[in-house]
């Protein structure tokens, strides 16, 4: 983990504040998406598919168990703007402890970035579904960590 979630969010807000009109914003978002590490073809399977997007989105979880578990993921879409939104989500959520992932106010940040319109479930760009998917990964990771704690120690 290089910078904190809070700092990553502030960095994004500052970067977006420097951008002028929608065009510059879209250019910036698309550019972020271009720098996303491409997903291996073998990982593009139905189990990883995120529905609720007009483009095809795959999100592959990578969870390090521990206390707390660390949430990481890789994702990719065939649409350029959606890849940019994925890159933004990665800055906020990737490689973070599960409780931080759950506590983070994604809506608040996207509002500050002027992107909250994209978070609406009716926009069909997958952002809403991706945030839900990442949060549920974090929730499940926490639950299995708790289950492991509750298990009687084998002495």
């Amino acid at each position: 983990m290089t910078i904190t979630q809070h700092d990553a969010a502030e960095e994004l807000v500052e970067a977006f504040a420097l951008l002028g009109d929608w065009e510059e914003r879209y250019r910036f978002i698309i550019d972020l998406g271009r720098r996303l590490e491409p997903l291996d073809e073998s990982l593009k399977i139905e189990a990883h598919r995120v529905h609720g997007c007009q483009s095809t989105v795959y999100l592959v979880p990578r969870i390090q168990s521990g206390d707390p578990p660390i949430i990481d993921f890789q994702a990719q879409s065939d649409a350029a703007i959606v890849n940019g939104l994925i890159a933004i989500l990665r800055r906020i959520y990737a490689d973070r402890p599960a409780p931080e992932v759950l506590a983070f106010d994604a809506h608040g940040l996207l509002k500050r970035l002027g992107l909250d319109e994209h978070l609406s479930p009716t926009r069909r760009n997958g952002l809403h579904e991706m945030v839900k998917r990442i949060q549920s990964l974090a929730r499940r990771a926490m639950e299995s960590a708790a289950d492991a704690d509750a298990r009687p120690s084998s002495c």
């Binding site: 929608w22 065009e23 879209y26 250019r27 698309i30 997007c53 007009q54 483009s55 095809t56 065939d78 649409a79 350029a80 703007i81 959606v82 069909r124 760009n125």
Partner: protein, 431 residues
């Protein structure tokens, strides 16, 4: 003298005020004046003038429709058919007048053949459940085409699963036209119903339904026409077509949402069991059984969309005042303009290049995903639809995930199409 408190006369007054205003000296439509009838077209979106090219999804509403709805709720709202008071009588009269207008519009031999539904989807489901439920059995076949909207696929899948009948599909070629040669094999004595669209919402293809209906009848099959897209663009004549059922939606022909029509041949409707049970659709109800009302009321259970039906009547008046032929002519000119303009965009491929088509420009771009294109066009005030357009089998046929669809109405202009082309250059620039 005071005007009688009826809705109908005031609609008439507005209608007669229109022609002349909307036409120039040569009798052509004056598009600027026409556009002034549609308040929403004057809107801005993201600070840019709205370019509304999503008419296959729904059309905008002209003032006579908006004002009719307003007047209905302000002055004439009551439940229909069972009231003895004055306002209920006015509402009933206006509702039944709307039914007569629909009947005249589609040239139905009788208004008893005109059932008000919530839209094309409900109309098709009504036929599938009522007619299909009573008539289909194992070994029977329902024939549809590869270019149907989901609402003319899924109801047949459901009723086939329930009755043991099977669903067969007329293929389409690379232009998005029916492969008519396949009919020799597909249309047989097992075919009980041909359910087919007159115009594809995803491709714009116009199907040769008159000859299809003749062939289906010769094979002993009934025919349902999905006219959701053809009613707004081509106009229909059910007697000329000689179809058994025809479905369309009010909202795609300048009317309100939530109102639609099922036309059915009267003798067929009389033989069909009810679709939904409730008030209005019965003659007598006893706890040990009920006697059903005659068509169309048998199929209109519960309080209908009264305002919607009256609004649809006003929309039909509006269309008739413009003239369906003038609308088709104007749209053909726009389509030709659009086809040429989009043809000049490098990397753009039109999906749907049938010899007979109308009002729909569906395309893919080799430089951007349809979703990116749609989002970037939206920021420029250009409203198009992206996705599968409720016709996933069409997307599968062309091996594409989605298209961008610009769909036209009579109020669109060449300038708006040029804005789309410019907008696409911005998509290219950003991608």
């Amino acid at each position: 003298m005071n005007k009688p408190p009826s809705i109908t006369p005031s609609i008439e007054a507005e209608r007669s005020a229109h022609p002349g205003e909307l036409f120039d000296d040569r009798g052509n439509l004056d598009i600027d004046r026409l556009r002034a009838d549609f308040p929403l077209l004057a809107r801005k979106v993201h600070g840019k003038p709205l370019v509304y090219l999503d008419n296959a999804a729904t059309t905008q509403k002209p003032l006579p429709v908006i004002e009719t709805l307003d007047r209905y709720y302000r002055m004439h709202n009551a439940n229909i058919h069972r009231g003895i008071h004055a306002v209920a009588e006015e509402a009933t009269e206006a509702f039944e007048t709307a039914r007569k207008r629909v009947a005249a519009f589609i040239n139905s031999p009788s208004e008893r053949s005109v059932i008000f539904t919530s839209g094309t989807t409900e109309s098709i489901n009504l036929v599938a459940r009522s007619w299909g439920g009573a008539n289909l059995k194992p070994g029977d076949e329902v024939l549809i085409s590869h270019m149907e909207h989901h609402s003319n696929i899924v109801p047949w899948q459901l009723i086939c699963a329930q009755t043991g009948a099977s669903l067969r599909v007329i293929p389409i070629d690379d232009h998005g036209q029916l492969v008519l040669d396949s009919l020799d094999d597909l249309l047989t004595e097992r075919t009980r119903l041909l359910a087919i669209t007159q115009m594809s919402n995803a491709l714009g293809t116009i199907n040769p339904v008159s000859s299809l209906i003749k062939r289906a009848h010769a094979a002993g099959a009934k025919v349902l026409i999905d006219a959701a897209q053809s009613v707004p663009h081509l106009g229909v004549d059910v007697q000329d077509l000689d179809c058994d059922f025809l479905a369309f939606s009010g909202h795609k022909v300048f009317g309100p949402t939530g109102i639609g029509v099922l036309y059915g041949r009267e003798a067929l409707l009389e033989s069909m069991p009810p679709f939904l049970g409730g008030g209005e659709m019965i003659k007598q109800v006893r706890l040990d059984g009920s006697e059903f009302n005659d068509p169309p009321y048998r199929f209109e259970a519960g309080t209908p969309n009264i305002a919607g039906a009256i609004g649809l009547g006003a929309a039909i008046d509006y269309v008739q005042s413009l003239g369906p032929e003038r609308i088709a002519q104007r749209e053909a000119a726009l389509l030709a303009w659009g086809t040429e303009a989009l043809g000049s965009v490098p990397g753009l491929r039109l999906i749907g290049t049938a010899a007979q088509k109308a009002a729909v420009l569906s395309f893919v771009l080799d430089f951007a995903h349809p979703l990116d294109a749609g989002m970037i066009l939206d920021r420029q005030g250009i409203a198009v639809r992206t996705g599968h357009h409720c016709a996933q089998p069409v997307m599968d046929r062309f091996k594409i995930p989605a298209t961008v669809r610009a769909s036209l109405a009579v109020y669109n202009t060449e300038r708006e199409i040029d804005s789309l082309v410019q907008g696409l250059e911005k998509v290219r620039d950003l991608s």
